[in-house]
């Protein structure tokens, strides 16, 4: 049993914003009220000056298991999640072997149950082997528990393949998550194409490589009636396209990552070719960053996801063009969102909770975590005032690849409660 005393309980989706106590018993929220007395044996968490919210979710995580456990595994990945304040994650299928059939879905589910510290929702591939040729067994995988289909990491090159996949996914009410990238344009690029890439002599990834696929996906979503979710959008035109897509009735949603609303391509220059600045899609220019923030504010962008992409040092400690794309996201996401968006008043705390919890669950047809008596106790606590420094060596993730090492932030996840169990307190994983 857990008793959170005197916390600010904030659940915008249910109209709750009040200072009270919250009692957890048998994995569920048992009682909410003033001056609750702790039952015998209950652990008390002081909620004074803390915010208690429905548990945060990250629907875009690379757990690297099965097959690449030298980068991350079920234990380290979920430890990274709970340390970052997340109660649930959706894991991407670009594993080895690919999550494109029931056996692998079952394996991930089994491992999550045996070794996971938070809820793990697998996603399945759109195409067999992520090859873009043949549709994966979406129906069977849905029965085994996948929450979405995606070829993330690889775009679906063929427009007709995507079209058929959307028709097919729609009948199972599976959202199609797309890594929007026209490879014939982005081919060989390592960072955003612009003045900085030209001045650094690095091959560029033009904005249009993303935008033409976003436009394509919106039109296909409109035709097929499928739900399409654009992953990690990076450019202003992409944001505008999503806004337009929503206005014409396409069922399109989008996510933005903390690095895309925090950084610009200048970071590659500032960090002198540090490969921890290399991600796909790349961070772009200030006008793009501002457009992403506006998209988060006006609801064009539905949620904040990290694209948590752990890589071993060996995959990063090489020449810029040879380095793997991606950064560790789970343990800096809440801090960056609080420090960069909430503290300066760009987003309200209400909006942050919707972006990081409620809408994530809705997108993948899960019951959103809620601060209601009887609901599963999946809860995140925030410390809005905590000043802390990102230290990659303290990550619970197996990997250290972050451009934010040494950044001073204000605001941090304070506690993570999964199914009524305290899994993290003051950024220390309890296992």
């Amino acid at each position: 049993m857990l008793l959170i005393k005197n916390g600010r309980l904030l659940d915008p989706a249910n109209g709750l914003d009040t200072v009270a106590d919250l009692l957890i018993a048998e994995g569920k929220i048992a009682q909410i009220g003033a001056n609750l007395t702790a039952p015998a044996g209950a652990q008390i968490i002081d909620g004074t000056d803390k915010v208690v919210t429905p548990g945060f979710i990250d629907i875009h995580v690379h757990l690297r298991t099965p097959g690449q456990e030298y980068k991350e595994d079920m234990r380290s990945g979920t430890a990274s999640a709970v340390r970052g304040g997340f109660v649930a994650i959706a894991c991407m299928p670009n594993t080895s072997p690919v999550i494109d059939n029931v056996a692998i879905v079952n394996h991930v589910n089994w491992e999550a149950k045996a070794r996971g510290l938070c809820h793990v929702w697998p996603t399945g591939a759109i195409s067999k082997g992520l090859k873009g040729g043949q549709i994966a067994e979406m129906g069977e995988m849905k029965e085994a528990g996948i929450v979405a289909v995606t070829d993330d990491g690889h775009p679906v090159d063929s427009a007709d393949m995507m079209r058929q996949a959307m028709y097919y996914a729609r009948q199972f009410d599976l959202v199609v998550m797309d890594h929007a990238e026209e490879k014939s344009i982005s081919h060989g690029g390592a960072m955003h194409e612009g003045a900085v890439s030209s001045q650094l002599g690095l091959r560029g990834i033009p904005r249009t490589s993303e935008e033409v696929h976003v436009a394509r996906d919106i039109l296909l979503a409109l035709e097929t009636g499928a739900r399409v979710h654009i992953q990690h959008i990076s450019s202003k035109n992409s944001v505008d396209l999503i806004r337009w897509g929503k206005s014409i009735g396409a069922q399109v949603t989008a996510e933005a990552t903390p690095h895309h609303f925090t950084l610009t391509d200048e970071i590659v220059r500032a960090m002198e070719y540090d490969t921890n600045t290399k991600m796909n899609p790349p961070v772009r220019e200030e006008s793009d960053r501002q457009a992403i923030i506006r998209g988060l504010q006006d609801g064009t962008i539905d949620l904040i996801a990290t694209d948590h992409a752990p890589h071993h040092l060996d995959d990063k400690d090489v020449e810029y063009g040879d380095a793997a794309f991606g950064i560790v996201g789970l343990e800096t996401s809440v801090g960056l969102t609080l420090d960069r968006l909430v503290k300066p008043g760009l987003l309200s705390l209400h909006e942050m909770v919707l972006l990081m919890s409620t809408r994530q669950a809705e997108l993948v047809r899960k019951t959103p975590p809620a601060l209601q008596v009887g609901a599963p106790a999946d809860i995140t606590m925030l410390d809005l005032h905590k000043r802390w420094t990102v230290k990659a060596k303290e990550f619970a993730s197996k990997s250290r690849n972050t451009p934010f090492d040494g950044w001073a932030l204000t605001g941090a996840p304070h506690a993570t409660i999964v199914d009524g169990e305290l899994k993290m307190l003051e950024m220390k994983v309890l296992a």
């Binding site: 690095l202 002198e272 020449e319």
Partner: protein, 307 residues
């Protein structure tokens, strides 16, 4: 005087004073190249390695000769002959060379930024960039500047036209960084698909009309056109390229007082017509001689004993 830095990664990092220091040093060392006994002790007891991940004749030999004229020990490592082929990383290759005691590494690499990454790995050995991707080729930029200085009174206000594929050119970039720092006016001309962008902030002017860049130019730097760019659709044919952007005698009339440079090797009849390549205005062979002098200067200043 010595350069107050460990590495020479690009002209973008240098101050005008540092550029002048290097050019002065090169000018002072140049007589050695032309003297009958080509041996001075500036690098005696020093060793450096040329580590080339891309083919090069001119630059590698130029560095090697520079080192030898200065009395240093020079070894050459090419990627195909080294353990790089066996899968060794740049980091391990570099650290092994440092463990053998070399004072400097001259690196050429296909990727922009590789020398900067190498410099972070090496605690003691200095790094000289001999060309990285299409980022920089600082010693080429410096030898171009030395050649210009020998022919023109001052950099200030000079109109320098860089013609051709500046987009994929490290030579163009080093010229842009170096020349704009010294007060020259740099123009880029070429097909729109091959023009470097992102230098407008430095005052660089860009045009698809070669005539506009040539008009009244003091210096013309013709870039080598990599013909394999045709395969990726940057331009249709060598003939069309020559017609619109080739340096021809007719176009040279727009810049009667200009010197003509080319980093070599030339594609005659493509970016430069033979009439221009063999004309009096060209300073292409003096460039090569200056290349040795510049490399003597930078190896002395960075790897050297006393200056």
């Amino acid at each position: 005087m010595r350069l107050n830095r460990k590495d020479l990664l690009g002209l973008k990092d240098l101050t005008p004073e540092e550029i002048t220091l290097i050019l002065d040093k090169a000018e002072a060392l140049k007589p050695i190249v032309e003297s009958p006994v080509k041996k001075v002790p500036h690098l005696r007891g020093k060793a450096f390695v040329t580590l080339f991940f891309e083919n090069s004749t001119r630059t590698a030999k130029s560095f090697e000769l520079a080192g030898k004229y200065l009395g240093g020990d020079v070894i050459n490592v090419t990627a195909s002959a080294s353990s790089v082929k066996k899968g060794e990383t740049l980091k391990d290759t570099a650290m092994n060379l440092e463990a053998m005691g070399v004072d400097g590494v001259v690196i050429r690499h296909g990727q922009g930024g590789a020398p900067a990454i190498l410099a972070k790995y090496l605690q003691h050995a200095s790094v000289i960039n001999a060309g990285d991707g299409f980022n920089e080729h600082p010693t080429q930029g410096l030898l171009d500047m030395l050649t210009i200085r020998q022919n023109k009174a001052s950099f200030k206000g000079l109109k320098v036209a860089i013609i051709g594929d500046s987009k994929h050119s490290r030579v163009a970039r080093s010229n842009i960084w170096g020349l704009t720092k010294m007060g020259a006016e740099v123009w880029l001309a070429g097909p729109s698909t091959l023009l470097a962008e992102g230098f407008e902030g430095l005052g660089v002017k860009t045009t698809t009309r070669i005539e506009e860049a040539l008009e009244g130019a003091d210096v013309i730097n013709t870039l080598r056109l990599q013909l394999e760019r045709m395969d990726r659709g940057f331009f249709p044919t060598a003939a069309e390229y020559h017609k619109f952007w080739g340096l021809t005698p007719n176009r040279m009339k727009l810049a009667p007082n200009a010197i003509v440079m080319h980093p070599g090797p030339m594609n005659r009849g493509v970016e430069i017509s033979s009439f221009v390549a063999d004309a009096e205005q060209n300073v292409i062979l003096p460039q090569v001689a200056n290349g040795v002098a510049v490399r003597m200067a930078v190896t002395t200043l960075l790897f050297g004993g006393e200056a």
